[in-house]
């Protein structure tokens, strides 16, 4: 692999520095420099940091990768976690996939930063907003640039945190703070799956580096990921299922999508950046990043495709009836993310990333457009009270229309190419494990496409066409455009128009190159080599000799999807061109239950509330009452303080102020301490330890059993009160005190100092031998053990540190 080393650390570091700057100095700057200049400083720092990252990313991609021909650029910042053989480096990488993600994140991020200047112009804690936004950029860049799953997970959690902070940005309103908490908690469920998946993968590869995971999948069906199993399923299947759980949380798929519509509580540019263009696509990125692993788990692939397709339709049908402009876009995002997962599940990795990119363009444009509308309408988000805004907001309306055409899939706009590619691959790609999945997935996807076209144009007509239905004052004095908000819209609309040319279908005349396909080829090459049930690619019967889809199939499917999109648009035009018509009302009555189900979001939140949230709250309340209040506060803390109090009351009686009583107690205490010192049995080591045969120079090894001798006190007697040996190979045998020391068999050394054959003085106690020739060992032969023998008992520190090699009794062989 052709690899370059460049300092990539700057790319996430600059937004991080911007975030730190604004968090630390922002409030002060806004106060000290006055509101106007303070705001300038705050947003220039934030925008400058992101602009730098954007510039740096584009330079690296185009100079090193496109011109320089390097396959990837790596930066080993520092070895982060080093523990035994596990080494996790703080490593960043830009390869072909990361390059796409990085350019989208920094590019769209930069535009949204600029837009925010206009949208947040009157916000009081301006600095906090930009600090969070910069922090998000840093985390998102770490997510996509991480060279190992650990790094990706750091970014994954970082964007989750920023999402929470920004959803709950207006934390003064309790329902918005609740929405932030909901997003955080629902994401926790998914993150739990990601952590477990990381552990499973680590158990096989002993590394979480993407290169190592890729290498572990390299031999296809024979690789360890497939051959090793847990609970009867292969590691690949188990790990990818858990990863997909994480993806459903982060990328708002069934069943964990419920947080995303609530996340619209945050400022609108945040919805555009985090909850449409970048963060929610992290799940798609993760699947494509680990595509060899997913390809080896056909069960998961089928699940991903099915969940994606069902989510696409499910969310699209909810989007049809919503009346909050941001809620419509939120459900639209869930639906479009469903398309991406449908593509990923069918093994169309490039199509998933392609749709990710185009979706980032047109959905960011739609959200920012809705932001401009909301700002113009006094922060009113109800489309029933809008209408006719095109007259006063032509740029916003124009860009919004372009993005609507793009998301509906009308040719030459970006969404047409990417969505068409997804539907094409849903129909033609192999899914050997689950025959019939193609038709189910394609059918769901196509139905969702009709709904998409319908609800997007319903939104457009209700907002921008017809007559204004709000109050006169707003229309006269407030509805207007600001160039700082229109400029990013125009850039994004241009991208939404021409972004599709990154992936021109092969079948179209001219046979132009599918740029993205060629660019991502190194990322997807490995999984394309798998065969049998692990085969990903166009299935047999639909592919020509080059592996392309047959032209008639492709053109037919393309025509069908454009056709249904036009049907959706025309139907919306018929019902909503001049505001909500009577016909629309009659349709909603005709559909009855279906309409109410869609309007009530299929009551999923209520079902979750009844089945999960309420029981959890009850359980939590029980834990609080019993565990916290009763056990910890009552028995634990209260018990300790109460016990100490009672004991103190009792002990207080002894403090009667009588000095002579104190003195008596003191004396008894000293006597007890001295007695315990003398009565304490002496433990000494005999020979070397079984585990550590090497003499450790007097240090007692703590591992393993070893032969020891235990002796009682020698007070008032020549012999220890009791004495026995224990340990491996030694039978525990108490030796009666006063046994004759001269008898040959006893293994005990003599208490009395006597001359040995070699002229050495045997130790008075086994553990504390007197070193050779030390004069204080007073071998004066006094046998009575009177106090004048005390010098020989004085422990010699030098002797203590040295374990005697010969602890056998004299006379023992």
């Amino acid at each position: 692999m052709n690899e370059a080393n460049l300092t990539l650390g700057w790319i996430p570091l600059f937004p991080l520095m911007g975030a730190v700057f604004n968090l630390v100095f922002g409030r002060w700057i806004m106060r000290a420099f006055g509101d106007r200049i303070g705001r300038e400083v705050v947003h220039l720092v934030a925008i400058g940091a992101v602009a730098f990252s954007c510039f740096y990313t584009f330079s690296i991609v185009f100079e090193a990768m496109v011109d320089g021909g390097y396959d990837r650029v790596v930066h080993h910042v520092y070895p982060w976690i080093v523990s035994g053989e596990t080494v996790v480096g703080f490593d960043l990488m830009i390869d072909h996939l990361t390059a796409v993600m990085c350019m989208v994140v920094t590019g769209v991020g930069l535009l949204i930063h600029i837009f925010s200047v206009g949208y947040m112009a009157k916000d009081a804690s301006y600095w906090r907003y930009f600090a969070y936004l910069n922090l998000f950029m840093a985390a998102m860049l770490i997510l996509v640039m991480g060279k190992s799953m650990v790094m990706t997970f750091v970014g994954w959690e970082g964007v989750g945190l920023c999402s929470y902070l920004l959803i709950g940005y207006y934390y003064g309103e309790s329902e918005k703070a609740t929405a932030g908490r909901k997003a955080f908690i629902v994401n926790r469920i998914g993150d739990f799956g990601v952590i477990l998946a990381m552990l499973l993968i680590y158990a096989v590869t002993h590394s979480l580096d993407y290169d190592a995971i890729r290498a572990a999948c390299a031999s296809g069906p024979e690789s360890a990921m497939v051959t090793q199993t847990i609970f009867g399923v292969s590691i690949a299947t188990a790990a990818t299922m858990l990863l997909f759980l994480g993806c459903t949380g982060k990328s708002a798929q069934l069943p964990l999508y419920t947080w995303l519509p609530d996340a619209m509580a945050g400022p609108t540019p945040v919805s555009a950046l985090i909850h449409a263009a970048t963060m929610v696509t992290a799940g798609v990125y993760l699947i494509v990043r680990l595509n060899p692993l997913f390809a080896l788990a056909p069960t998961t692939m089928a699940t991903v495709a099915l969940v994606g397709a069902v989510t696409a339709l499910f969310a699209a049908t909810i989007g049809i009836t919503q009346t909050d402009i941001k809620k419509v876009l939120a459900y639209s995002t869930v639906s479009q993310l469903g398309y991406m997962f449908l593509a990923a599940g069918m093994g169309a990795w490039v199509a998933a990333i392609f749709h990710l990119v185009t979706h980032a363009f047109f959905k960011a444009c739609l959200f920012l457009g809705s932001g401009a509308v909301i700002e113009a309408c006094h922060h009113n988000q109800d489309i029933r009270t809008m209408g006719g805004l095109r007259e006063k907001m032509p740029w916003t309306a124009g860009t919004f229309l372009i993005s609507c055409l793009a998301i509906a899939g009308i040719p030459i706009f970006a969404g047409f190419f990417s969505k068409d590619e997804i539907l094409l691959h849903a129909y033609t790609n192999a899914s050997a494990w689950s025959p019939g999945l193609n038709y189910v997935a394609y059918g769901l996807g196509l139905t969702a496409a009709v709904c998409t076209a319908f609800y997007m144009f319903r939104l457009y007509y209700l907002t921008f066409e017809g007559e204004f239905r709000g109050d006169h004052h707003t229309w006269e004095h407030h509805v207007h455009e600001q160039w700082i908000m229109s400029f990013p819209l125009i850039v994004l609309a241009v991208l939404a128009t021409f972004g599709g040319f990154l992936g021109i279908p092969h079948v179209l005349p001219g046979h132009l190159a599918h740029v993205l396909d060629g660019w991502l080829e190194p990322v997807t090459a490995l999984s394309a080599t798998f065969g049998g049930e692990y085969f990903v690619g166009v299935r047999e019967g639909y592919a020509d000799e080059h592996g392309h889809v047959l032209a008639n199939v492709e053109l037919g499917l393309m025509g069908l999807s454009v056709g249904v999109a036009l049907v959706g648009i025309l139907f919306a035009r018929k019902l909503y061109l001049k505001g909500p018509s009577a016909e629309a009302k009659s349709w909603s009555e005709k559909l009855g239950l279906l309409y109410r189900a869609s309007l009530g979001k299929y009551w999923v939140d209520d079902i979750y509330d009844a089945t999960i949230v309420k029981p959890l709250r009850v359980a939590g309340s029980v834990c609080y009452q019993v565990g916290d209040q009763l056990l910890i506060d009552g028995v634990g803390v209260g018990g300790v303080s109460g016990t100490v109090g009672v004991l103190g009351e009792r002990a207080r009686v002894w403090h009667n102020g009588n000095v002579r009583r104190y003195m008596a107690v003191l004396l008894v205490g000293v006597a007890l301490v001295l007695a315990s010192v003398y009565a304490n049995p002496t433990v000494s080591q005999l020979g070397a330890s079984a585990v550590h045969p090497v003499d450790l120079g007097g240090l007692r090894p703590t591992l393993g059993a070893q032969p020891i001798r235990i002796e009682g006190p020698t007070l008032f007697s020549d012999e220890p009160w009791f004495s026995f040996q224990a340990g491996p190979g030694q039978v525990s045998r108490p030796v009666p005190a006063g046994a004759n020391a001269a008898a040959p068999p006893p293994p005990l050394p003599q208490r009395d100092p006597i001359q040995r054959a070699d002229g050495k003085v045997p130790p008075s106690r086994p553990a504390r031998p007197a070193p050779d020739g030390k004069p204080d060992a007073k071998p004066d032969g006094k046998p009575d053990g009177k106090p004048d023998a005390m010098p020989s008992e004085r422990p010699d520190p030098k002797a203590d540190a040295k374990a005697p090699a010969d602890r056998k009794a004299p006379g023992a062989p």
């Binding site: 403090h655 102020g657 000095v659 002579r660 003195m663 008596a664 004396l667 009177k786 106090p787 004048d788």
Partner: protein, 100 residues
């Protein structure tokens, strides 16, 4: 040369007498004198061992103890005098004001 045991017996006896005085007598003056006895018992042990080991450390420590004992006697007697003035008695069992 006297064995060390003799010194130790003497010191032990002095210490016991001092302890008994502290424990049994109630006059503050006598208690102070008994404490002096205990200190001097310790001094004897120090000096005896110092002589036995041929090392002057013990003697130095004994001199230090004497100095401390003198200071202690001075302060103690001053306290006794002031207590006597304030309370017209030197019974140690009555001096329990700090109990509560």
């Amino acid at each position: 040369m006297l064995p060390i045991t003799h010194f130790l017996y003497l010191a032990f006896a002095l210490f016991l007498i001092g302890t008994a005085g502290v424990l049994l007598r109630r006059n503050v003056l006598i208690v102070l004198m008994s404490i002096e006895l205990m200190l001097n018992a310790a001094n004897i042990v120090l000096v005896a061992f110092s002589r036995m080991w041929g090392n002057t450390d013990g003697q130095v420590l004994a001199m230090l103890t004497i100095a401390v004992a003198a200071a202690e006697a001075a302060v103690g007697l001053a306290i006794v005098v002031s207590i006597f003035r304030a309370r017209t008695g030197t019974d140690i069992d009555d001096l329990s004001l700090l109990r509560d």
